[in-house]
Symmetry: C2
Subunit: 344 residues, 2 copies
Amino acid sequence: MRATVMPKAHEVRIENIPDATIQAPTDAVIRITRACICGSDLWPYNDGPNIEAQRMGHEAIGVAQEVGSDLQRIKRGQVVIMPFVNSDGTCLFCEEGLPAACVHRGFFGNGGELDGAQAEALRIPMADGTLYPIDVGEDDALMPSLLTLSDVLGTGHHAAVTSRVREGGTVAVVGDGAVGLCGVIAAKRLGAEQIIIMGRHEQRIALAKEFGATDVVSERGEEGIARVRDLTKGFGVQSVLECVGTEQAMATSMGIVRPGGAVGRVGVPHYEAINGAQQMFYDNVIVGGGPAPTLAYIDELLPDVIEGRIDPGRVFDRTVDLDGVPDGYRAMNEREALKVLIRP
Amino acid sequence: MRATVMPKAHEVRIENIPDATIQAPTDAVIRITRACICGSDLWPYNDGPNIEAQRMGHEAIGVAQEVGSDLQRIKRGQVVIMPFVNSDGTCLFCEEGLPAACVHRGFFGNGGELDGAQAEALRIPMADGTLYPIDVGEDDALMPSLLTLSDVLGTGHHAAVTSRVREGGTVAVVGDGAVGLCGVIAAKRLGAEQIIIMGRHEQRIALAKEFGATDVVSERGEEGIARVRDLTKGFGVQSVLECVGTEQAMATSMGIVRPGGAVGRVGVPHYEAINGAQQMFYDNVIVGGGPAPTLAYIDELLPDVIEGRIDPGRVFDRTVDLDGVPDGYRAMNEREALKVLIRP
């Protein structure tokens, strides 16, 4: 079968590799019908992958093609959403709604423990606890939006939940990538009144406004912080969705959160410490977030997608087949494409 | 009138200073009937005060002796609890239950904006928004416990709230000072099932057990972390009450919190950054806390004190008059006394 591998920085190849097969009775093999490229795939694309010939991709919808003999929930032929981590469905973290911290957690692709989803097929360990079956055809028109339940919509929602977005609240979203835009959707969905998007890419900002952003701040650093304060009577916002992961984005987040407010981090952090521990203390600021328990959020988010109240699939502005994946990485890296959908 | 001043490190004096007087129509002057020495008073005692002849003390119960002409709520002769910060009672933070972040916030004593409570009397700005009147006599037997509503009980409760202590939850309290012990009371009160106290002072540990601690970990650093993990099936605890404020205490807190758990910081931080930002992210750990909105917590905590369900006044193990204050500092600093009550 064919799959995406990244042998080194700035090099993405489609290679023939051994077919995905069942290795344990709790495995499933899914035929990938939709996958995509994530902003976090660009970290190894620029800095070099973690392992040789790294398998890439951690977001997908597929069809269960082979199911292990122990599976109860997942049946052959089902269309399934694949979250970016696997989970056993039974450990205390899974039971508490945090499958992203499952004691058997493995990350798909990107140097994680499991194979990648930018491929024709993929083995899913503990498929009963990992996959979410949905009752739609594999080429349903909603596929782009459904695909966001695999990662970006759930991740934007996690940023909104962990930053405690509330009815009537004030929100800033740091980052205008696909996760940031889904953060706008999530904040709007949870009733925020003011949603400030921080970014400078014209088309993305336009989409953010359609999703519900009420204000735009394009300045960065101290200037950006001052602008957000100007927009919030000098206080800052109650909720900051940190959707980038750089030290600068985190510094901005801490600069614009108001006393008693919260920062929800969902950008994979490329820094070792959270600075400003004293200011954060004296302002009673909360910092939370991490890998989103996307599986646990699907129950809540799916009806809004199915019934068309939200349309997160609009973050995809380009579609490629497997052969188009290397150029898709280039296009996203150059910010020519917002998010690339893959139809293997 | 007489008041406690700290001219330099390791020097505490009782001096004659001008009487406290009404300076604005929203002021009150209270005659201090009970005050105490706080663990946080020991930071300037050891490191040197922030300002020359620093006035000390931020916890008190008193009797309203003079009331400004604009006051509606506070009447002359009332017994009142004084939280460690003032608050106007009307700003958006006060209205949202976070008076400790009031836009007119000032800290009492300890180098703060306002005068100190280890004195015969004290001017209270914005007294209507700051003070909490209670319907007891000034020498009521419950005075020690009522005094803890000024700071330590509310602060321990804030650590429990911000670390999200829940019914049946697992908790660790870092620090066996008066705040840590009140944290044990608060965790027990909120229904925690397992409460691990981390400390090594025999009498304090004994009191922690009486307050509801189920386990004791006396080891520090990596060894202490390993012991807490042993006590929690290897996972760590859901809630960590960080009641010390040192970098080591924070490192311990981050080492013992389990995925999806929270650290509530109430120890005044003596570090600039929160380390372990990546582990914190991958474990979806929440860090919150800060100066407690003690005023806002009194409504919830007072009935338990009045009706004797909790007895936080037991943290006081020594009582002095004003002349005994300097030796009280020494005794607390040498850990000879847990917390010193002052009857001016």
